[in-house]
Subunit: 205 residues, 2 copies
């Protein structure tokens, strides 16, 4: 036992918290002492929620989003537009798009983007299963909604090449330009240039 | 289930993490997704460490520090000086003082400081048990090592009044003054004034 800790149990709990990303030993200690002040049943609820999730988690067989069933609520919802697939990097992106309430199609979660620097190649991503979904037919549009980074662009291009053999499927990408409420003078030059090139007719809306 | 989450289990785990102090829903989501990427046995080790700690935690009967036994390793260590008691606010303070390796006496963890604003009165702190320890005899010095805040000062004064009936016990307080490596011009005026009043003979050490 580290001399610093008066209890081996305390040290073990701090060690475990400190393994989480962005949590150092001081924060870990603060969190553990907070848990110690809680009722035991609240602590049990906490540790049970974490371990139940990790034991019983399912990923949707169709879109690879986290789900409680084999097919997620979005994919199995008949009122959603099955002819449109929105390709995203991860689960948080699905949540972000759902929150806009502007999208009624389905998703496809890649599980990351191609990034040779991090050792992530196309085979580690759910790209093959995307091609299979398109190959089955019935898909009219695939929306590429990846981050506008080099890695996102490379992944977009890779998917574009893979889906070239389905010319009937429209391939679109999220609009890039000034953010809503951005002041023009503070917009970076690349974004501003892109906004200028991709200007759209003003409809008064 | 909140529409935003594709899985009730996921939502529950995020809810639980978001209850921790200083952790919002976005950080909670990031932590939960990190746990999902771990092996299941690592997650079990995490939740087991937390719940074991909270179920089996002991507080030392003597000094009220967290301990695995009824009397902590510091209190039961015969090579430590039982005639000196250092009064601190919480468990972290014990760890901070232990790390200096400058103290060989025992501790007394109050569990906080008197703070009427937060509804903490003397009766919620381990002050009575401190007086009992002193009353048993054998104590030569009580070091008040509380924060140098108004609340800390009020608590110091309260303990001073309680221990006045034991004139044989020396009551000391931590030295206050410039921090080591502080530049004089940037030291705040209250601290600098105190350092000047409490100046000590220069011994060349």
């Amino acid at each position: 036992m580290n001399q610093q800790y008066s209890s081996a149990l305390l040290e073990r709990a701090v060690d475990e918290f400190a393994k989480l990303p962005g949590i150092g030993r001081k924060t870990a200690m603060r969190l553990v002492l907070h848990m110690l002040r809680l009722d035991v049943d609240k602590v049990d609820a906490f540790s049970d929620a974490i371990s139940t999730l990790c034991h019983d988690v399912h990923y949707c067989h169709v879109c690879h989003n986290i789900s409680d069933e084999d097919v997620c609520q979005i994919c199995s919802n008949p009122s959603r537009d099955a002819a449109t697939i929105c390709v995203v990097e991860n689960v948080q992106d699905v949540m972000a798009i759902e929150q806009t309430q502007q999208y009624r199609g389905l998703y496809h979660v890649l599980g990351g983007v191609i990034s040779p620097m991090d050792g992530v190649g196309p085979s580690q991503l759910e790209i093959e299963s995307l091609v299979e979904r398109v190959d089955k037919g019935g898909v009219e549009e695939v929306i590429l909604a990846l981050s506008s980074t080099m890695e996102g662009d490379a992944t977009n291009f890779y998917i574009f090449r893979k889906l070239m053999k389905y010319p009937e499927v429209k391939l679109t990408v999220l609009a890039r330009g000034m953010s809503i409420n951005d002041e023009l003078q503070y917009t970076d030059e690349v974004t501003l240039g892109r906004s200028l090139i991709n200007r759209v007719p003003f409809t008064g809306k």
